[in-house]
Symmetry: C2
Subunit: 118 residues, 2 copies
DNA sequence: ACATCATATAGTGTGATGCACAGTATGTCA
DNA sequence: TGACATACTGTGCATCACACTATATGATGT
């Protein structure tokens, strides 16, 4: 109940929260070559929403950083650009996974040690 | 083994990742009134590093958004500014906790479903 | 047959936000 | 003199969200 803009404010924070996870999620998914449009759907199915105008620039950026490589598949009706991790990307993915585990555990511990607000 | 700037790059991503969690961590900690300098240490102990020049502006921002309230304690040698959640801040905290649970579960599921890179 | 619209697919430009980096300020205790 | 406790500021950079553009295909309407 109470304040209606709780939702509004929380939405912003949640965006911030997911921001950092997106790279990890994308790299994890791109162990299997996938094209952008499809990736959006797959991530959404897993519960991680990301919009086209966020994902496409991200893919290009990660490619620029050497984490991904891409190739066009022009066999179907519409050409699709498939992205997948480079070896370097795989190394970074492994590191990020490890870091995620540490950090998320810390977070959970912190939340556990705090009196429940409910 | 391979590329030395993995660490460098990962560091940046990790920063991004923690970025969104910081608000949650701070709100959770501030269920108990605490002053900034101490909070830095407490969070570090839990495994969540945040620097002074990041935390202080954050506290002021959250106060400005109505999530926190502060008061000076001038009894000791140096005056300390204690922050704690407002009722509104508690509501937001509850929401953020819930969101964190959902999102982190999604993330873990995604990572589980992906072949291990190691 | 023709117009029209939805969907699949990829992209760009710009403003706002929020951190990191480096630095300031001050009082206390060794 | 110098380390630590304590709080704060100013600026640049990186990155997302929002709102677009673009095109080709297949479906739907008349």
């Amino acid at each position: 109940m109470s304040n209606p803009n709780v939702q509004e404010l929380v939405a912003g924070f949640v965006l911030e929260m997911r921001r950092g996870m997106i790279v990890l999620a994308v790299l994890a998914k791109l162990e299997t070559p996938t094209y952008g449009y499809s990736l959006i759907g797959e991530l959404a199915d897993t519960g991680i929403a990301i919009e086209a105008n966020t994902l496409y620039p991200l893919l290009r950026r990660l490619e620029g950083q050497g984490l991904l490589e891409s190739s066009w598949n022009t066999e179907g009706a519409k050409p699709r650009k498939y992205y997948t991790n480079t070896t370097f990307g795989q190394e970074v993915l492994a590191e990020l996974k490890a870091q995620w585990n540490v950090t998320s555990k810390s977070m959970n511990k912190l939340l556990r040690d705090t009196r429940s607000t409910t």
